[in-house]
Point group: C3
Chain length 109, copies 3
């Protein structure tokens, strides 16, 4: 058995939990904080059989890869009657950092 530890953005943690559940993977989510941005993120602990590690990593990749999103910046304050919609801005979101470790023994009580 292997322990897959995936550190993901808070926004992706729900979708990832769902996708893992649908593929019959069990997981446990812990709230965490990034050391650099000091923003909340999520750390998932996923115990999987040795032969399932690649399948679990594929699900993490599909649901959490760093991607570009277009967001509409707040329009600047204008004089009444003036209207200006700034163009959407590209930002990077998502991403996953994944550690795979060995589990020497597994028990269920």
């Amino acid at each position: 058995m292997k322990l897959v530890i995936a550190i993901v953005q808070s926004d992706d943690a729900g979708a990832l939990s769902d996708a893992l559940r649908e593929a019959n993977f069990q997981s446990t989510l812990v709230s965490s904080t990034g050391g650099f941005l000091r923003e909340g993120n999520g750390t998932l602990f996923i115990g999987v059989e040795d032969h399932q590690v690649d399948a679990a990593l594929k699900i993490i990749k599909e649901n959490c890869t760093t991607r570009t999103q277009f967001v509409n910046p707040m329009p600047p304050v204008m004089e009444p009657g003036e209207l200006y919609m700034p163009p959407p801005v590209e930002v990077q979101v998502g991403g996953a950092v994944v550690f795979v470790q060995n589990i020497e023994r597994f028990e269920k009580f």
Copy 2:
């Protein structure tokens, strides 16, 4: 040294911490959420000497095994004067999922 990671129900986490302490095991509790039921549970990290793993697992088993409890369901809403107490219902509670991993190095500062 080994790291024992025990995922237990929130209600059992306190009793388990007490039992470990009485047996002179040190532990650290982290709040967590189950991937399936999305309910709060507890994840205990317990660093133990190699020869103490079985003793620690025995304490986890004694305090967290899945067991049947009888609970009184809410009585249905009745007409005034009528009284009906539904029979107690059997539910499953407790349970522990336990991973044992190797620790290559241990330091205390």
Copy 3:
């Protein structure tokens, strides 16, 4: 790659995160509770290259070692006009418990 897990006092967790960041170590902080004192502490997960383990442990040691601090105890309640400042008292603070584990595989998505 190795996973360094450091359990430190809450007061030291911020300074330690800063010191790690300045040395270009990445880390993730999880809130936790000690099994004995039942007080809040912090558990840091730090993935480091094999050859950087000693450098990471040195930073943890410098920022979290158990040390003596002098604190001013609350002055006792006195009669009006009386003033008595008890001498400062020595208390132990800080400390770090550190586990180093192997990481078999590391991925970034």
